[in-house]
Symmetry: C2
Subunit: 335 residues, 2 copies
């Protein structure tokens, strides 16, 4: 018994000696957020993270409560000249057209097949919804996941010629990793489709499927040849935008986030909800100001409009990233 | 530079020496699942966990995919003589009665206030739904959370006189911890209310709010005195039972579980969905067979009926826990 106790002490002493030695070494930690210029946005992020991770500090946040939520379109990846998921829907309609000869006679499908986007958009929201349902429903969850996985590894963005998953923001990838290194759980809270994102978010962002929240259509449990499947129905289940975002955060996470990141008025309620909690909270808007490296748009844009959000950020002192000024690099493929 | 490299090697060598020494020590690991008798159920669990955590084995499952889902009522805590959440609803109606004098004249409220449960139940599902809405809606998410937290720390079970949160199954607490120790993420997937469970599941089960899935009513984002709140509406959002369970698992987790645990026909689709995935899967039913230490019920019970599930477990070779035979202890408070 005593012999065993002595043996057990040995690794403890060795671990102790090792810790002492390691502590004596010069710090070689990499500077965080290397693609961020050392301006007010980066400084605000680093200061906040230092505050909430200082165990005896007044703004300390226990690891379990370190929840950070990110919008996706325009916040983690691009959204111009159209939401990437809309490009997927159009491609999907074209791929499915051989089984739907009637689409050549019916809008909005006719417009898609004839590459006449104007006539599609003339149909308004209803036409878009029709395209989404036709392109997203009618299969099982596993079939749809495979269709998305195939698309994101082949389809190319019309301007850059890159894969859509290459058009993610390098500074935000660094931010995601930096927050996770500091004990944060990173979530996506997007107006985009939850099942459109999950097949690739872990690989691209390091965000696992269970931390992806988004809009959804209804699914139904069915037995097919004695095998259970979930069938995707052409019916909206939840629209995860504007006032829907806090509702979805509460439903999925059940905790109020400590940090929230968005780029449009569609994220405003999420940021308000985050900011209104007690203790340390951090809100940030990505402002698209770089027409050369990316796009420049805000108050007048139909995609990713940032108008009320800009005003509220100014009046509440939220951090606003000026992409042109604050980011050394926008996309990972830039050199 | 060379000096730094040498220094960095030192802790590596010490760690190596420490590992070698530790490996030479006799194993002192505690036997897992101490409240389980060493029968076929425990053996099946331990064997499955050993299989999926053996890195070079044929049934290995990467840690990210180790998802285990648990029903709550009757699987993790008791559900007799009535679902504990129904006891909460009844207590809540009584607490709210002073503000609702009209309830003394209207069923099902009259029945509740007069402790005449039969007349309440005579109203069927509709009466119960009315009670649930009256007792669960009309407040903010934060108010409701506080109400639940207060109730579970004061209300007592009618038979044992214990707090409801003491009426959890000791063997299942050990199982939750054992799975987490082996890299599993443990989730609740319950027909009970998601916001009724979240205030206490972390403390009682070690399951954080973001890993709790349940039935829900709708909530709405509102500004009250310039402060955003989520208001709970008297309208069903989702019923997380039967075929709803795989739908909710897909919606919240986005991965198919590797292990599923239930106790009633309401869990059957969840177990079927789990079992139908490729690779190693494990399904288990808790069978209430111990009238002395707990309750004995199955095919004929109106609460927690286990009928089709028992047949399917037998034909598919799922593990069935016989509470009387397999558990040394049922509740933590037993000695």
């Amino acid at each position: 018994m005593i012999r065993h106790r002595l043996y057990r002490l040995v690794p403890k002493w060795i671990a102790y000696a090792s810790a002492v030695l390691a502590a004596g070494l010069p710090a070689v930690a990499q500077e965080p957020l290397p693609s961020w210029n050392d301006g007010p946005a980066k400084q605000a992020i680093v200061r906040f993270v230092a505050d909430v991770t200082t165990a005896d500090g007044p703004r300390f946040v226990p690891p379990a409560e370190r929840i950070a939520v990110f919008d996706n379109d325009g916040t983690l990846w691009g959204e111009q000249p159209m939401y990437f998921q809309l490009a997927f829907a159009l491609d999907r309609v074209k791929a499915m057209a051989p089984e739907h000869p009637e689409w050549w006679e019916t809008q909005p499908f006719k417009g898609v097949l004839e590459n006449d986007l104007e006539s599609v958009l003339a149909g308004g929201e209803r036409a878009l919804l029709e395209l989404v349902m036709a392109s997203h429903a009618g299969n099982t969850t596993e079939e749809f996941s495979q269709i998305v996985a195939d698309w994101v590894t082949t389809a190319k963005h019309p301007r850059t010629g890159r894969l859509y998953t290459d058009m993610v923001y390098q500074p935000m990838l660094e931010l995601l990793a930096y927050l996770r290194d500091n004990g944060f759980k990173t979530y996506i809270v997007s107006g985009g489709g939850i099942e459109f994102m999950r097949p690739w978010t872990e690989r691209v962002y390091g965000i696992p499927p269970e931390q992806v929240i988004g809009s959804s259509i209804k699914t139904q449990f069915e037995m097919r040849d004695a095998t259970p499947v979930l069938v995707r129905l052409p019916e909206m289940n939840f629209l995860d935008d504007k006032a829907g975002k806090p509702v979805a955060i509460n439903q999925h996470i059940g905790r109020r986030p400590r940090m929230a990141f968005g780029n449009s008025d569609g994220d405003l309620e999420m940021l308000q909800w985050t900011a209104a909690g007690p203790g340390a909270r951090f809100c940030l808007y990505v402002h698209h100001t770089d027409a050369e490296r990316e796009w420049a748009y805000d108050r007048e844009s139909s995609i990713g409009r940032l108008d009320r959000g800009l005003d509220e950020a100014a009046s509440r002192g939220w951090t606003v990233v000026d992409m042109k000024r604050d980011w050394k690099r926008v996309f990972p493929f830039e050199r």
